[in-house]
């Protein structure tokens, strides 16, 4: 009986090792270990054994059973793995086929830059203000220290509605309107559309956007203005950006300056983008003229402030290297979808 068991173990091991698949394995399990299997048949002889032999043979039989079960299980695992591997191979796809996306829309490039500017200033404690585009002469000119007959009126070719009503030529009227309604400390930016009678070409548009900034508080200095301008420049054009203030003239600020940023392409060494200058003019700024504060109902002896105005189209065009302003208003989706 012992030899029978040993014999069975050997042949079973061979057959299991040679099994071709899960089905054959199952058949072998039944053939050896099933109710009507070989092991059961051998164990039927147990009755003919002596009391001493019986436990020994019983133990051997259990060992054989366990051994065969283990072999079957082992082999079964192998077949499972193989089957899985084959399935995975058969499931291979062409990963270079296009993806299925939910296409988002595209923000207009002017909006992209405007939103960045707004974020920069929100972080600096500014609020966003606005004012009408169809504006009174008073707010657009008079209150900003540009009386009738002032030559500065010529540099801003104005669209008139009536003698007294016009399309604002700048966002600066919001300064006066905001000061009329709010007490210092004031910290606002006022983005919006402005209008000047310029024929359309690659660098001109009768309608464009400005972003006005106004800060009024006790003890505001040109040092504050410089810090504010540095923040915009770095925020928009990167941390390495430097600024340069050049004295200039605006009727509503005194002192006034034009502000250049170090060229964001060459870093200031000089390149075609900055026309070899190393600097690119981006905005006008200055300390709010005492008369303007007064016109806004704020005492210039108690408060001072700074203001600036940026052309949104200009910085957007620099930012994305757009060479023709008309593209911004043509709204061709082939253009817009690049942003």
């Amino acid at each position: 009986m012992k030899s029978q068991l040993e014999q069975m173990r050997r042949t079973a091991a061979e057959k299991i090792a040679g099994a071709s698949g899960i089905a054959e394995l199952e058949a072998l399990r039944i053939a050896y270990l099933g109710k009507k299997g070989e092991l059961t048949a051998i164990l039927k002889q147990m009755g003919s054994l002596s009391a001493e032999e019986r436990p020994i043979m019983g133990q051997l039989a259990n060992e054989v059973r366990a051994g065969i079960e283990a072999l079957i299980a082992q082999q079964f695992e192998k077949f499972k793995e193989k089957e899985k591997a084959e399935r995975l191979v058969s499931e291979t796809i062409d990963v270079t086929l296009p993806g299925k996306s939910v296409a988002l829309g595209h923000r207009h490039p002017l909006s992209i830059v405007l939103n960045e500017v707004i974020d920069i200033f929100l972080g600096m404690g500014f609020k966003v203000a606005s004012g009408p585009e169809v504006e009174l002469d008073y707010y657009n000119f008079e209150a900003l220290n540009i009386p009738e007959g002032h030559p500065a009126r010529d540099t801003q070719d104005t669209f008139y509605i009536t003698d007294n009503v016009l399309l604002r030529t700048q966002t600066s009227p919001v300064q006066i309107r905001y000061m009329e309604q709010n007490k210092p400390p004031i910290r606002i930016i006022a983005p919006g559309r402005v209008y000047r009678s310029d024929a359309v070409d690659a660098t001109h548009s009768p309608l464009f956007h400005q972003i006005e900034g106004l800060v009024v508080d006790k003890g505001v200095t040109m040092g504050d203005l410089k810090a504010g301008l540095e923040a915009i420049a770095k925020g928009l054009f990167g941390n390495e950006t430097r600024i340069r203030l050049r004295p200039h003239h605006f009727p509503f600020t005194e002192p006034s300056c034009e502000v250049d940023v170090s060229c964001f392409r060459c870093g200031g060494k000089g390149c075609p983008m900055c026309k070899g200058e190393g600097w690119i003019e981006i905005l006008g700024a200055g300390m709010v003229h005492p008369k303007v504060l007064q016109n806004g109902g704020i005492d210039p002896d108690e408060y001072s402030g700074y203001a600036f105005g940026v052309g949104l189209e200009r910085i957007t065009m620099f930012r994305f290297q757009i060479d023709d302003m008309r593209l911004l208003y043509e709204n061709d989706v082939r253009f817009l979808s690049q942003f």
Binding site: H106, H108, V134, I161, L207, D217, V220, T221, P255, R334
Partner: protein, 793 residues
């Protein structure tokens, strides 16, 4: 303003490179636009002397010359010019030279004869006969005795074409810097060099000016000062080379000595001058008065101009002879036979000159200066300078004296000197004596705690102006930046937040943002079929538009959207899904300013676009704005939309917009040959009803029961009617109802449709039984039966 370096050197010697000069001037406030050397493109052109001149053997018009150019042997040069003689000094472009226009000259053969270069005309040097009046215009430039005629000399040095010219952008508040002396003052202060305002000497002449001339100012509000002088026996001739050179460098064409003197003084001192021919000054009198109604003048440019009573003129006893500060009359100019002249140096009111020039449509060099406000104290000085030049040029005989009609007050303008305030205001710490030094370098005086402002600085009237002068010469670059100390909260207001949300929701739905002009053509209202009496045709009209296309402020953003759809369609873009947060401008009667309303404008065409994709965008937008109570009704009277495919959105009773398929007529007008969809929503109404407050709802704890129901009804019946009836009847346990099929066709009678819904029923506090669900469904079916709608069998 073009500044000649040679001229500047008369007043202040600055020994730095052109680039450094430009940089320093720019940083002190006189912005340099560019600089360059005259004749910079000319290369390898020298003075040569013609030694021999012989006919070309094979040509009847060419000449062969031997020219001494200072080299070891003469050069042989062939020329076609007919104005040469032996002994003439001429510009010689040598082998490998460059003449004006960048043309390269190389040696070569002309009809078989070697030519080592080219003899040049004025044009080939970039000049005209205005620069050298004695030269012939169609021949070689033969150098006169006003040139350096040493053979071999670079031609630019020889004829004075070697000035450095710097171009400045002068801001309108600084008319004093539209002059050589003004810029010299700024330059001296920038480089720390002393500068004294030049004072021309008073020239004594013969006779007495009052025997020739009388001056009367009738409107002293428009004319502050009028000074006149008389020169007789004028000898009209070209000006000397140095003067012509300076005018040329300044961009002014030399004419003759008298005209050149008026221009020279204007460029030097910033004060426009005029010279009248005394012959045409009836009665020898100058009367500065307003024009009379109906009066006319023919100006120097030969145009007859109608004058109005608000225009200031210079008149003689009978007629206007000049439009004050703008342009002289035709007979007032200098002619070849002019014998006696009157020099005018006057100061007119800026706004008055500006308004006159504008009305007459003639901005001149003089008017551009006057309108900025000139120094009344400068008039006399300029007249003296003009007479000094007459004497220097021997251009005529000066009559003794000057008629100076001065209506200015002699008050000095002063501003308190407050150096501490300046330091605080700018954020610097400049010692008082340094501040005084800066101010004095600009011709201000500081006395008894007051700054005395020089008369030519009309722009300085407040301590902030003084602070600016200190700051710009202390250097803006030296101001330390200091971040703001006090804090304020930076945040968007509710409307701005909603705007941002709308942007994000539309972008997330695949709509691309556009930006369009706010002004349109009134014709566009016709393009969208607005009837003639539509209130939307009442727009804010621009008085002086660039063109009809941009002449009225839009009252609707629909034409702008259609135009963009059309442009994209015609650019062969397969599709476009667009939106704009646009402003429309609605006139308000009795108000000066219109109501500026924001609208959300939507538009789309192309694959996957239909009425319902547009509606879906709007529904998703409303959902995200927290607007759940709204109605969508069919409308057939929106003129630009398809009458059967248009809807109105109403939120809580407020009309909030319309949307739908574009009317085929309108598509035709915009040349769009596919279906397109547009909508416009009122931003304000959306904002009013938006509710972004969110409260968490517990997740369902009990399973739901679902039921599918199909009904057959008249095909014209809106599905919404069924949906509402079912919702109402099914009761509070109806969690959701969604349409999943609408069907017409076989098995459904003609004129009817099958509508199938999926109902989800759930109880919040227990597992719903089939019986409960069935009873809810039964109620719904009954409710529909009452409307004559039956369950599909």
């Amino acid at each position: 303003m073009l500044l000649s370096n040679k001229w500047l050197n008369d007043y202040v010697k600055i020994d730095v490179s052109d680039k450094e000069f430009a940089d320093v001037m720019t940083m002190s406030g006189s912005k340099v636009e560019g600089f360059g050397r005259e004749g910079a493109e000319l290369k390898n052109i020298v003075v040569g002397k013609i030694l021999t001149l012989e006919r070309h053997p094979d040509s009847d018009h060419l000449w062969v010359c031997q020219v001494d150019t200072g080299g070891s042997a003469p050069l042989q040069i062939v020329t076609g010019a007919q104005n040469l003689s032996v002994g003439d000094f001429v510009p010689v472009a040598l082998d490998n030279s460059v003449v004006a226009g960048g043309k390269q000259i190389k040696k070569g053969k002309l009809r078989g004869v070697e030519s080592a270069g080219m003899l040049c005309s004025l044009g080939e040097l970039g000049l005209t006969t205005h620069d050298f009046p004695y030269a012939v215009c169609d021949g070689i430039f033969v150098l006169g005795d006003d040139c350096d005629r040493t053979v071999g000399t670079d031609i630019r040095a020889a004829i004075g074409l070697d000035d450095i010219v710097t171009e400045f952008e002068i801001t309108p508040n600084r008319p004093d810097c539209l002059s050589v002396t003004g810029l010299a003052r700024e330059a001296a202060a920038s480089f720390g060099i002393p500068f004294n305002t030049p004072v021309p000497s008073v020239i004594k002449g013969e006779g007495d000016v009052s025997d020739y001339l009388s001056v009367e100012i009738l409107d002293s509000k428009k004319c502050y000062r009028y000074a006149g002088a008389v020169v007789k026996n004028v000898r009209i001739a070209p000006s000397p080379r140095w003067l012509r050179e300076r005018l040329r460098a300044s961009g002014v064409r030399p004419i003759n000595n008298i005209v050149d003197i008026t221009n020279y003084v204007m460029l030097e001192y910033g004060q426009p001058m005029h010279a009248f021919d005394y012959r045409f000054l009836d009665g020898g009198s100058v009367i500065v008065r307003n024009a009379r109604a109906g009066e006319k003048i023919t100006t120097l440019d030969g145009t007859e101009r109608n004058l109005t009573e608000d225009m200031l003129v210079i008149a003689d006893a009978n007629k206007p002879v000049a439009v004050a500060g703008v342009m002289g009359g035709e007979y007032s100019g200098i002619m070849d036979d002019t014998n006696t002249i009157v020099f005018e140096s006057a100061c007119f009111n800026g706004p008055s000159v500006r308004s006159t020039a504008k009305k007459l449509g003639m901005r001149t060099e003089a008017s551009a200066r006057y309108e900025k406000g000139l120094d009344p104290k400068g008039c006399r000085r300029c007249l003296d300078r003009a007479l000094e030049l007459v004497r220097l040029l021997d251009a005529g005989d000066i009559i003794n004296g000057v008629i100076d009609c001065d209506r200015t007050d002699n008050e000095q303008r002063t501003v308190p000197f407050d150096p501490d305030w300046t330091n605080r205001f700018i954020g610097i710490n400049v010692p008082h004596d340094k501040q005084i030094e800066i101010l004095e370098s600009l011709s201000f005086k500081v006395e008894n705690g007051m700054v005395i402002v020089p008369s030519f600085r009309g722009d300085v009237e407040h301590r902030a102006d003084i602070a600016e002068e200190v700051a710009r010469f202390y250097g803006f670059e030296n101001i330390e930046s200091r971040p703001l100390v006090s804090t304020t909260a930076g945040m968007l207001n509710e409307t701005q937040k909603l705007r941002k949300l709308i942007d994000n929701v539309l972008l997330a739905q695949g709509l691309t943002e556009i930006m369009t002009y706010s002004f349109i053509s009134p014709k566009y209202y016709g393009n969208i079929k607005l009837p003639a009496d539509s209130p939307l045709r009442n727009s804010v009209v621009i008085k002086n538009p660039l063109g009809e296309d941009t002449s009225v402020m839009r009252t609707t953003a629909v034409p702008s959207m259609l135009e963009v759809l059309s442009r994209n369609y015609n650019n062969r873009n397969a599709g476009a899904r667009l939106y704009e947060l646009s402003t429309v401008y609605i006139p308000v009667s009795g108000e000066a300013l219109p109501d500026e309303r924001q609208t959300v404008s939507l538009g789309m065409y192309g694959e996957g676009c239909d009425f319902f994709s547009l509606k879906g965008v709007i529904e998703e937008l409303l959902y995200n704005l927290g607007i759940s109570e709204y109605d969508v009704d069919a409308v057939s009277d929106c003129v630009y939309l398809h009458p059967g495919r248009a809807a109105r959105l109403t939120v809580n009773g407020d009309e909030s917009g319309v949307f739908g398929e574009v009317h085929p007529d309108v598509l035709d007008n915009y040349e769009i040959e596919t279906k397109a969809y547009v909508g416009t929503l009122c931003f304000d109404v959306l904002c009013k009803h938006a509710n972004l407050a969110k409260t968490y709802r517990q997740l369902p704890r009990f399973p739901a029961v679902t039921r599918d129901l199909a009904f057959v009804c008249n095909k014209k019946l809106p599905v919404l009617t069924l949906e509402r009836a079912i919702s109402e009847a099914a009761g509070k346990n109806l969690e959701s109802i969604s349409l999943f099929d609408v069907y017409e066709g076989s098995q459904i009678p003609d004129g009817m449709k099958s509508v199938a819904f999926n109902l989800v029923l759930r109880s919040p506090d227990k597992t719903m039984t089939d019986e409960e669900a069935d009873s809810a469904v039964k109620r719904a079916v009954k409710a529909l039966e009452k409307l004559g709608i039956s369950l599909r069998s």
